[in-house]
Each structure stands twice: as C-alpha cells, then as structure tokens.
C-alpha cells in the first residue's frame, strides 16, 4: 500500500494517534501535500456517505474527523499561504434559544473536511450575530443555521430572514431534527440537509 493509501485508510478508520506520522511519511516519500489533502478529503467523503447510509455512527465519524484534523496540522506548514483549496468561508451556528451543539459540531467538522474555512459561532446565536459574522470575515460564501427544537424553528426562520435581508445573494443552508426540506424552502433557505454527511455534499453544491 502506498503512503497516501495509508493516510486514507487511517482517516477512514479514525486512527488519530497514527495519522500525523503517516502524513509525514507520505511527504517524506515525495507525495505532494495537495495530493495527501485530497486523499483525506476523499476519505471524509466516504465517511460522510457511510454515515448518511446508517453504516457507521457518530463516534466513527468523530474520530475520522479528528484524524483528518491532525493530518491537516502536519500539512499546514507545507501548504502555508496556499488558499487555492478553500471553498470559501462558512459561518455556522445553532439559532437563538437552542443550546444543542452535537449536530452543529458534526456539520462543522464535515464542512471543514470538505474544504470550507469554518467560523463556528456556537449555540444560542441571535440572528444579527450571523449577519455580523458575515461582515467580520473574509470570503464568506455560506451561512449554516442549525436548530433542534420545534420551539426554536421560528428562530431558524428569523435567522434566514435576517441574513437574506442583509445579504440577498448569500447562500443559506439549514438543518436539525424538526426541519424538513419543505420548511427550509418555506423560510427562504437555499439548502437543507438531513445529516452532517449530506450537509457537506449540499454545501459544496450551493457554492459550486
């Protein structure tokens, strides 16, 4: 197995303690940093698909994302200054009144793995904060809003409305247990995803 294949396998298996050494070995063997990164992104895409299909569960996805993150740390100094890989910046948060962060964190990990620069606003995020974050950050191409409670669905609507009022062309994606594609369309969101794996696919589609 080539070094780069090792890296891929380690990301998919979530071997976070072994990944840094494997990435370094691949670099030492002459593999390009970009190719190694692409291989890890491809692995995470496989992980996302398996999660969406119910073949793996949240822990497997978390440790895969952690492994990728540790691998990227090794690549960062080599790729410093190269922004050609970035799909742009995505602002993400759980909407006002809602403290749920697991789904939101999974989406942050998956979008980061897919190539977005993520700005995580955390939980209980007021609609205006999303707008402010778009203003405060460079190259924002996507806003992602999460809500888990039926009682915070109005806050989700408010967040989409406020972002769209300030930035009519900004793409907005929403998700969370009570959200349906119909509801997403009704409140003016550009995209909806039922889980973190699909969110990465949808987000890439929206900014393509």
């Amino acid at each position: 197995m080539s070094k780069i294949e090792d890296v891929k396998a380690l990301v998919e298996a979530g071997k976070s303690k072994k990944i840094a050494a494997a990435v370094q070995e691949a670099l030492d063997a002459g593999d390009k940093a970009q190719d190694i990164l692409d291989a890890m992104v491809a692995s995470m895409s496989v992980v996302g698909d398996k999660f969406s299909a119910g073949e793996i569960f949240v822990p497997e996805m978390l440790i895969a994302a952690k492994s990728m993150s540790k691998g990227v740390e090794v690549l960062k100094p080599v790729m410093a200054g190269d922004t050609s890989n970035s799909l742009g910046t995505c602002i993400m948060g759980t909407v006002a009144g809602d403290l749920h962060d697991i789904g939101k964190n999974l989406v942050v990990m998956m979008l980061e793995s897919a190539g977005f620069d993520m700005v995580d606003l955390g939980v209980d995020v007021a609609a205006e904060k999303f707008v402010q974050a778009v203003k405060d950050n460079d190259n924002v191409v996507l806003v992602a809003c999460s809500g888990l409670l039926t009682t915070t669905m109005p806050a989700l609507k408010e967040a989409v409305k406020t972002v769209k009022a300030a930035f009519p062309d900004m793409k907005v994606i929403v998700g969370g247990a009570p959200v349906t594609p119909e509801y997403a369309a009704e409140i003016g969101a550009d995209g909806y995803a039922p889980d973190a794996g699909s969110a990465a696919v949808k987000a890439k589609e929206l900014v393509a």
């Binding site: 497997e60 978390l62 952690k66 962060d101 009682t151």
Partner: protein, 326 residues
C-alpha cells in the same frame, strides 16, 4: 371492565384487553423521592449534584448541560477518578416521609407505584464530559470508559437499593436516551459492549426486589437495540418514536417487550396545538400499531406535555379510538 392494571397485562401478554392503555395511566409516579437532584428552573443555571453545570434558557422547554471550556467537568476520561464523585445518598431523618405517604395514598388496584431515575448511564457519560468527548472516548479510551460506567452503575445500584428499601415500588421509569430520531448514537455492537451488562445488573436488581415493570424511556430511534433491551429486562420501551418501524417491531418482538409511544410529540405538542392535529396523530398510530404489545403515548418522558392541555387532549382521542376499534 378490566382494571387499568389488568388491561395493561392483557396488552403486554397478547391477551384480550378491553381498551387501549392511555399513556401513563398505569403508573403512579412518586416524584417526592428525596433524589438529591439539583435542577434549574426556567431562566436559571445551576451546578448539579455531580458538579455538572445545567442551564435552562428562558422560553425553552428543557434544561441542558453546559460543556464549554469554562464549565465542563471532565475533560479527559482517564482522569475520571479525580473529577467524578458520586453524590451522597445519606438523607436527613424524615426525608422519605412524603414519598412513603404518597405510596400509601395510591390506589394499587389500578396503579403501579412508579419510581424515577434519570439520567441513565449513557446520558451520564455525556453530561460529565460533553457528547463529542464521550463518543470519541468509547474508541480512544475504552478501559477508562468501562471503569467510569462501572462506577456510575454502582451509584445507580446504591440508589436503587434506597428506593426499594423505602418504597417497595412496582415499577421503575428509567431514562437514558440512546439515539437521535433517525439512528442510535452508538453502533449496536458498541452499545452491547459498554452498556448491556450494567443494565442487566441494574434492572436485574429491581426485578429481584419486587419491581414488576421495567419501563425504559428513550425517545429516539432504537429499533436495533431492542434485542439488548429484552436481554436487560426492559418490559416497556417508552418513547418509541415513529421513526422506528413499530408494526414490524411488534411482529418481531411482541410478547417479549411492549412498545409505548408512536405519537410524535413534535406534531402534537407545540404552542399552536389543536385537537384536530392530535386526533389525526392518535388515529394514525392506533390504526397502524394495533391493540397488543402497544401503548399509544406521546414520547414525553413523564406524564404530561410541554404545552398545557396536550396530554389530556391526547387521552381524549385515545378514548375515541378505543370506542372505534374495540
């Protein structure tokens, strides 16, 4: 007409019930137990009896543990012995009096004396260290996780002994959410490895001490864990969401376990609820799931609803379905 208890037994044994069981009607929950739980009221933040910070945001329907860097109790599970200290179970004289009086006042012909326990073992792991940390630790630090779960199990056993000694309950309503709406948090194999034996021990203790009904609440998908539930001694899985294929589960496991739920709280229990919405949801679930091994109920973890009137309105609609289908 059968008593409430007789009717429930007919449902659970595949006999001849004369009506639907109405949600929690068979349980008299004794909530005056001196549990020692420290919980916030709406708008408040507290540090609970384990040292976990719990916050209930204004205007929301529930409280949540807080796991930012400032508040998280356990950052590294390998250090659990340093940070996780079980609360004392010693209570002052007279602390159990109200609960004992509530037991005595119960109509035991119709009601099972129910005691309550939450959060369960899985929930405790993420209460203590946050969901992501907990879930990754099952892979990265399995030995420490086993040790921590053993420690939490022992606390539950000690707590169970107190309840059994003081109240001689007939039923336990035990909370531990094992999944989201569409999946379990852990794979069935991982769930079995970490939780099956502990729950066999806990539920086995209750059964060995006169508790007839083990009611486990998990308002989630958990169809793939039903064989484990049966093995650990669960009699009624409460909170069964209709994201599980309930008719199929009844076909496969009826007689070994009863499913309580099928009414989606998200559909019926919201600020703009209506009797018509509830009627349609109750009709659907009763018609889909039938009369045996099934109890129509919202997925709430206790009798009641988030918005006033919903629970009672649901009972009314279950009565209507009884008239229609029995």
């Amino acid at each position: 007409m059968l008593t409430i208890k007789e009717n429930l037994k007919e449902v659970m044994t595949g006999g001849k019930p004369d009506r639907f069981v109405k949600q929690y009607e068979f349980l008299q929950m004794i909530m005056s137990v001196p549990s020692g739980r420290v919980k916030p009221v709406m708008g408040e933040e507290v540090v609970n009896e384990w040292g976990v910070t719990i916050r209930w945001p204004e205007g929301q329907i529930a409280a949540f543990p807080v796991h930012d860097a400032e508040h998280i109790l356990l950052k590294d599970v390998t250090e659990w012995k340093e940070y996780v200290k079980a609360p004392s179970l010693v209570r002052p004289e007279g602390a159990w009096d109200q609960a004992i009086a509530d037991v005595k006042a119960t109509d035991r012909d119709n009601k099972y004396i129910g005691v309550f326990y939450a959060p369960g073992l899985f929930e405790m792991t993420h209460y203590l260290m946050g969901m992501e940390n907990a879930l990754m630790s099952f892979y990265e630090e399995p030995e420490a996780m086993h040790e921590l779960i053993d420690y939490l199990t022992q606390y539950e056993m000690d707590y169970a002994k107190e309840m059994v000694d003081h109240l001689h309950p007939d039923a336990i309503l035990h909370h531990d959410d094992w999944g989201s709406q569409i999946s379990t948090f852990l794979s069935p194999a991982m769930f079995e490895e970490f939780f099956l034996e502990s729950y066999k021990k806990i539920y086995g203790f209750y059964k060995a001490n006169g508790v007839e009904l083990i009611v486990h609440h998990s308002d989630s998908f958990a169809a793939t864990l039903v064989p484990n539930m049966i093995e650990m001694g669960v009699d009624i899985w409460q909170g069964v969401m209709n994201t599980n294929n309930i008719p199929e589960m009844i076909k496969q496991y009826g007689g070994k376990i009863t499913f309580m739920g099928g009414i989606h709280s998200g559909i019926i229990d919201h600020p703009d609820w209506s009797q018509e919405q509830i009627a349609a949801e109750v009709k659907r679930t009763c018609e889909e799931n039938g009369k045996l091994y099934f109890i129509p109920s919202s997925c709430q973890g206790l009798p009641g609803s988030s918005f006033p009137g919903v629970y009672e309105a649901t009972d009314v609609e279950i009565d209507k379905m009884t008239k229609k289908l029995f």
